[in-house]
Amino acid sequence: MKSLILSLFITQFIFCQDLTASAILDSMNRVMTPENVKSTIRQIITTSRGNEREFEYEMFSGSKGKNVLLRYTKPNVVKGNAILMKNHSDDIWIYFQRTRRVRKLASSSKNQKVEGSDFSYEDFSGGDTWKEDYDIKRLLDEDDKYILELIPKSDVSTSYGKMIVVIRKSDYYPDIIRYFDKNIVHEKTLTMEDIRNIEGYPTAMKMTMVNHLEDSETRMEIVNSTYNISYPDDYFTERYLRE
């Protein structure tokens, strides 16, 4: 009888932990993925030698992060270049202003750096698909933070072998995401800072991606951002990419 009660307790405990992990991720996605966003972002890339380069682009995100369009405005060398990522970065097109050409990128390029930064195309895909693409496990809490471990399912195409997401209990906003490569070596860390409430959504005004393997980092600062925006039906198409 004792063993049955113990067994039921363990089952219940495991079930609750799984459910909680999933619920935490749901809550995080609710605050992280508003329907539409338009932001102007300043990006500073620091190389391992300490050299800095500054970029600026406009980011248009629609359908809860499913579709993203980046259009560079600075520096001159990339001004006018644009990247369209659809279906959570499963389909990527790049527009080169200088040659006025559009190239479609294959999924094998998803893990490549975007304009030399420490963000890959895959990093822009957002957390909306994490629930279906990853096995999620809740680890021991750290003070006022939930800790989730995400392991990609075997049929999912991703360059990461594991992710650890640190989420604030107060508003379910993630503080830190640690990315591990296929060999479970800690590759990158994304830190969100200066979290402010903009139009009802918590928004990290500064995000820093540190690449531990290459000793480089990319800092993103939001110059302005709005969630009160709607896009035409055909906005996330090649036509708008060329504009």
Binding site: N76, V77, R100, A106, S108, S157, D234, E238
Partner: protein
């Protein structure tokens, strides 16, 4: 008489000033290229180029774009065709000259409406097709086979892009020089899962007869282009089949390719191309001079029928990458091999250093050429 560079510069400055008064968005670059052929005796040549782009959004619907281009060559600027193509010695005198230029490369108006789509009027950049080097469906802007990503010259045309549900209709009309006819393109672009495809009908006019200028041949063809991915590798196919032609009836032209980026960031690309209109090869024979002239004039995409390009690129760090590519003429078995270092030493500065080596016997397309080093510097503003 050649205009001197200071004359160009003064003209451009005056032009730019007039535009700046109207608060135009401006940009562009200065490009400097040096080429060295270290054959029996060194040959030096190159150019300076200035591109100045102006853009003005008149209102939410109308936008005007203008690009002014000035190019001045230095060193050797006249080249004998016989040094670059195996042609009959009777035509040894044929040459081409690199002339200094100052012209408006693009000047076009974009008019966007919700009900009528997008209308682009004037000299404009046009790039069609899905292939990397050879685009059989692009009759307007032939690429440089040695440098396929280089910017294309503007095309004087009227273009209409009209969305129909999830499709896009693309119509282009380019008047030809005699004014009696036009090159026409009508394409329907769609999407099926991870594949983008375009079906097109193309009407092209060729001025083939050099003895009688403005005499045109006409071809009507069906084009098809698709790009997508299979097992995470990018794949594309593009073809153009002439269904009614004065000059090349039943001409078939196609290209297919595949690219893949390894987890270690090594980028690999393979593209194959076939063109019925290309010349066949008979060992020891020269290529017909008319074929060479048509190729230099952009009327045919390649000199011969079959080619393969293989390319690789690897990032050394955020700003520098090394690459290698080879272009092989499958008919005469000659080949170009190139090593390339590209990068950006400072913000808004780009550098490209390439070494070209030519393999093959003396009477082949690439075998006749000497090795060559090219250095290119771009400063963007």
């Amino acid at each position: 008489m050649r205009a001197t560079f200071p004359t160009y510069t003064i003209g451009i400055i005056l032009f730019i000033q007039s535009f700046l008064i109207g608060q135009w968005n401006t940009g562009g670059y200065v490009e400097m290229e040096a080429d060295i052929t270290p054959a029996n005796t060194f040959t030096y040549y190159g150019y300076y180029k200035l591109r100045f782009d102006l853009e003005k959004e008149i209102n939410r619907q109308i936008e005007v774009n203008c690009s002014i281009l000035a190019k001045q060559y230095w060193g050797q600027d006249e080249f004998l065709i016989k040094d670059y193509f195996p042609i009959n010695p009777d035509y040894e005198f044929l040459s081409f000259t690199m002339n200094d230029t100052l012209y408006i490369d693009d000047l076009f108006l974009v008019w966007r409406t919700e009900s009528l789509g997008e209308l682009i009027i004037g000299r404009q950049p046009i790039s069609l097709g899905s292939a990397y080097v050879w685009n059989p469906t692009d009759i307007f802007s032939p690429k440089d086979n040695f440098d396929p990503t280089y910017e294309l010259q503007g095309v004087t045309a009227l273009r209409w892009l009209y969305p129909i549900r999830s499709f896009e209709l693309d119509g282009i009309i380019q008047p030809i020089q005699n004014g009696n006819d036009a090159n026409m393109y009508l394409g329907l672009k769609g999407n099926l899962q991870h594949f983008d495809y375009t079906i097109s009908v193309i009407n092209r006019n060729y001025e083939y007869n050099y003895a009688q200028p403005y005499q045109y041949y006409k071809d009507t063809s069906i084009g098809f282009s698709v790009v997508g991915e299979i097992l995470t590798a990018g794949v594309w196919f593009e073809s153009n089949l002439v269904v009614r032609g004065d000059h090349y009836p039943d001409n078939r032209e196609w290209a297919f390719g595949i690219d893949y980026t390894t987890p270690q960031s090594l980028y690999l690309l393979l593209e194959a191309y076939h063109n019925d209109a290309g010349a066949g090869y008979t060992p020891g024979q020269y290529y017909p001079v008319s074929q060479v002239l048509d190729y230099l004039d952009g009327k045919i995409r390649t000199l011969c029928e079959d080619y393969i390009m293989l390319m690789s690129r690897y990032p050394l760090n955020q700003w520098w990458s090394i690459g290698a590519w080879t272009l092989r003429n499958m008919n005469d078995k000659s080949e170009i091999f190139s090593l390339q270092l590209t990068g950006s030493p400072l913000q808004d500065i780009a550098v490209d250093v390439s070494i070209f080596s030519f393999l093959g016997s003396g009477k082949t397309e690439f075998g006749i050429q000497e090795s060559w080093i090219r250095a290119r510097l771009n400063v963007f503003f």
